[in-house]
């Protein structure tokens, strides 16, 4: 499974078209220039998630297709927000890659498995980044994305017939 990331994701981002209210509110947030690379790393992963949901959603079981579309929209919002933070830090937001290796999943369980892998990777990256970011308002903004991705992970896990919330502290290892 693969997707032409740059064209499709860019089109989707353009189609998204608006800047979130949260992004507008936080436009005034000072972001450290030294955090631009870290934020761009998170943006790169969000582009990967956008590509994964774009490719996977049509292959999901019927009952979860709506969730896939919803989560794709969420990831697009996250990417827009992170791009805004990178710009606020004086950096240039990283663009989607031409394509992403998503494997060759067979059947809906393996498709869900790809999404599980992607969401876990996002969780792990956010957890690494959040304590390193400054100031506190940027930590909050990124944590608000992280918690949303944790919600996605819970739904994906439930669709895989695994416990939705396996731990009191979300680590991305489950």
């Amino acid at each position: 499974m693969s997707v032409a990331g740059a064209g499709l994701a860019s089109a989707l981002l353009a189609g998204c078209g608006h800047k979130s209210l949260k992004a507008q509110v936080h436009d005034a947030t000072p972001v450290l220039h030294s955090d631009a690379a870290l934020l761009n790393h998170l943006l790169d992963l969000e582009h990967w998630a956008i590509a994964a949901y774009t490719a996977a959603t049509p292959l999901l079981p019927a009952a979860t297709v709506k969730a896939g579309k919803l989560f794709l929209n969420d990831e697009l919002s996250h990417a827009g927000d992170l791009a805004g933070l990178v710009r606020a830090a004086g950096g240039k937001p990283i663009k989607p890659r031409p394509s992403y290796p998503l494997g060759h999943p067979r059947g809906s369980a393996e498709v869900l498995g790809v999404l599980h892998t992607v969401e876990r990777a996002l969780i792990t990256a956010y957890l690494d980044a959040i304590p390193r970011l400054r100031p506190g308002t940027v930590k909050q903004q990124v944590a608000s994305i992280f918690a949303n991705d944790a919600q996605h992970l819970a739904v994906v896990r439930a669709a895989l017939h695994e416990p939705a919330v396996p731990s009191a502290f979300v680590t991305g290892r489950d």
Partner: protein
């Protein structure tokens, strides 16, 4: 220019050298009006004790089916884990905290403080129970979200982000019980900030 350290800086340095968890940030922030790590965690603990009471009241209400209870009982256990972990961190910061169960009167007062409608005792239907828990999960999310703005110690930031994400997952699952299959009700926004 006088570059001698102030007494406050000397105290902060000594605490830092002694390895006290986040003691130095707490002192350093004292002049700025920013809440100390202890203050921030104390508010988190208050929200966690409230949500523990909420789960206990709901599970004792007799309004839930066995399927709902099977979902919610592990969440109560996770909230209790949050209470003990946050309390342990407060103790490491030199602040003793009360982790005993809240009584209903105190709990209802906290509901009012957090502008949560309803009551911890008027739980006569499944819908009342699930609505209360969703609202309490929002309060817990908000408590962690607020703490993240000011916490100084990196380990505490990570801990609070992890617990906030867990509350967000609870929120999603309970909302799913209320609205099966309607994912937009379970995850209505791409950002989680909770309620204050």
């Amino acid at each position: 220019m006088d570059v001698r350290p102030t007494r406050r800086q000397l105290v902060a340095g000594a605490l830092s050298a002694a390895g006290g968890l986040a003691a130095a940030p707490a002192v350093a922030l004292a002049d700025t009006g920013v809440p100390s790590d202890s203050d921030a965690l104390a508010k988190v603990l208050e929200a966690e004790r409230l949500i523990v009471l909420g789960y206990r009241q709901v599970l004792a209400s007799g309004t839930l089916g066995t399927g709902d209870a099977a979902v919610l009982e592990p969440f109560l256990a996770q909230e209790l884990e949050h209470v003990s972990t946050v309390a342990a961190q407060l103790e490491a910061l030199g602040t003793m905290s009360d982790t005993s169960p809240l009584d209903v009167t105190a709990g209802n007062a906290l509901l009012a403080k957090h502008h949560v409608p309803g009551s911890l005792t008027d739980l006569h239907a499944r819908a009342d129970c699930l609505k209360l828990l969703v609202n309490l999960e929002s309060v817990a999310e908000g408590a962690y979200f607020t703490a993240l703005k000011t916490l100084g110690h990196a380990d505490l930031v990570t801990l609070c982000a992890q617990a906030m994400a867990c509350e967000a997952q609870h929120w999603t699952v309970i909302s799913g019980l209320r609205n099966p299959g309607i994912y937009v009700k379970s995850i209505p926004w791409p950002f989680v900030t909770g309620s204050s």
